[in-house]
Symmetry: C4
Subunit: 199 residues, 4 copies
């Protein structure tokens, strides 16, 4: 039932693209910044930083999602459900991104960054579950996909949850370091995610 996986992809792609583009709505400058606008724009760096980090992360999830779905022979009710939960967490990302943009280096930054980190933890748990369910005993995997490919994808999923848990815990010590690490993960993962596209 490849028809089922096409459907899965179209709706998911829509949510990924919209969530990524809605991130821009986090940017705002105080009303009537006037002559100090230039100064204010430079001090928006937490907004730029959070925007790039979240945008790249959604991009990676999108690239990986396509690659994973391409290995599926069909889609069943549980995967459909897990996929909806995944989209629910990706669609939620603009809110914690906005919190980081507004509160980083301000009072309240720890709560903002913890919310950001928690969202990434939940997202990677759901995404891992999504893939484990599809690939367990090759439940939904196409016959012509070699075991080695399935194992390679599973290995790529492994570090997600522990990495974001560390990022979350670091926010208790240094919120800024936590966001930098979230960015570093995206920057590091991007080439390997894009790598999938070449095969």
């Amino acid at each position: 039932m490849t028809e089922g996986t096409t459907r899965l992809e179209t709706f998911s792609d829509g949510v990924f693209a919209i969530a990524a583009t809605l991130l821009v709505l986090e940017f705002s400058v105080r009303e009537a910044s006037g002559a100090r606008l230039g100064h204010e724009l430079l001090h928006l760096w937490p907004s730029y930083f959070a925007y790039v980090t979240s945008f790249l992360t959604i991009g990676i999830i999108w690239i990986n999602h396509h690659y994973c779905v391409a290995t599926l022979a069909r889609c069943d009710r549980v995967l459909m459900f897990l996929n909806l939960i995944l989209l629910l967490t990706v669609g939620f990302l603009p809110f914690p991104t906005k919190l980081v943009a507004q509160y980083l280096q301000q009072p309240g930054e720890q709560a903002a960054v913890l919310a950001y980190g928690a969202t990434f933890i939940v997202m990677s748990i759901v995404y891992n579950t999504w893939w484990r369910y599809a690939s367990h005993n090759r439940r939904l995997i196409r016959d012509d996909v070699p075991d080695s490919t399935v194992r390679a994808i599973s290995r790529a999923f492994n570090p997600g949850v522990p990495m974001y848990t560390v990022v979350f815990l670091i926010a208790f010590v240094s919120p800024l370091a936590s966001v930098i690490l979230t960015f570093a993960i995206a920057a590091f993962y991007l080439p390997s995610a894009a790598l999938f596209t070449e095969r």
Copy 2:
């Protein structure tokens, strides 16, 4: 005229995906929450709750919509019109969702939850009419779709309007209970909606 049903699906999918993703814009924290941000984020639970409920409901409508459209041989002017009205109600959902997010457990919660419930009633009346019109005397149904499938879908549509009417009426007694029930309906319907995808 399957070309006509493809068209129906593409535009509908776009509106479903955008409406679901716009739900995130309901979230907001008071300006300058500062050090109390963590506290404030925890007290946003009505926002999280309303977000999940509306997102899942749109997801279910989307999954069912695909399944129903797949049974159609063609699309006529009335169905096109009914579909536009359905999209109009789905596209409206972010507003009552925001009302519930802002007013639940606050003064005004009853009006907010009644607006939320009324939206679901209208949505299920329109969606029912959409399906009744398409399936009445197999008006637009494909020849190779068995009667039993048509009847099964009709049966799945039956409880929608009465259920949401009860949910609406409960809001007069307890707004919170009404929202919990709306969530429960989504959670309960989701597996059976996803079930369609397997056939």
Copy 3:
């Protein structure tokens, strides 16, 4: 070059769906409406009215657009340009819709409704030009499309600009009547637009 017309349709559909769904962002209630929320929601009727009117109008443009594009053999540089201008005006619609929603029956309603009417005039001029250019001497029309079809579409386009000009002028006398007429045009055009889909 049907590839060219597919491209035209995909991007256009995206803008139509997003513009229609963004209309919901016009709705807002005063902060802390509290116990008077129910009262306030009832007084939002200009918002509901403007939302339905704009949503249906975008829906009609979308349905007609598909039908017109289906008669094209190819797309050239001028049509691509005119189409972009059409999307620019459709993408702008949420702003005057918001003005009508906020100012109808308030001081300033005349300016708001004139802006709304002017947008519809520009939109119908651009859309007419779009179709006249494509159909003039059958410039871009597919060989297998009969002349009678081209003439029927042209006839359907004819009343657009004069009708919206009247609607605009009426706003000088009665802004409310002008908006009611805009809605009536959408409601009246919808079945005939949907009618296209049946052929």
Copy 4:
């Protein structure tokens, strides 16, 4: 691997369409403009100007993007990465557009227009890099695409970065002239961009 390029296009088209449509959210009038609304709407001309300029520019990038992708035989990991960075800059455009809309002819206009110009510089650097990478030694170009086509596209890309650098520098002397020039570039490029579609 044309499958890879289809994927590239679908996600890119989504982001282009959404970014263009989100531009409308920049428009706002002061609360309670009341009877002076008409006056205020006329004074919003920097908003209209910025909206049209940004919308047309995104339209041109979209048309060119399709034309360039149509020359590609496949997509590799670096192009996927560069494309994501391109989408990141296009998705960011609504923010500097909003700054220009709010600050042009107001204190702070220079900072706003510099931010606008800088975004276009970054966008054209990324887009140039995207194409140089794909076309260098015909790395990803389809065998049936003649060298002359590749060279023609490269020539069309050449003026981008220097032109937007000049536009940026002009903002130090006259912010208004800088925005007028940005609009002129879009208006001038549009026909030649659309020209691609005819071949």
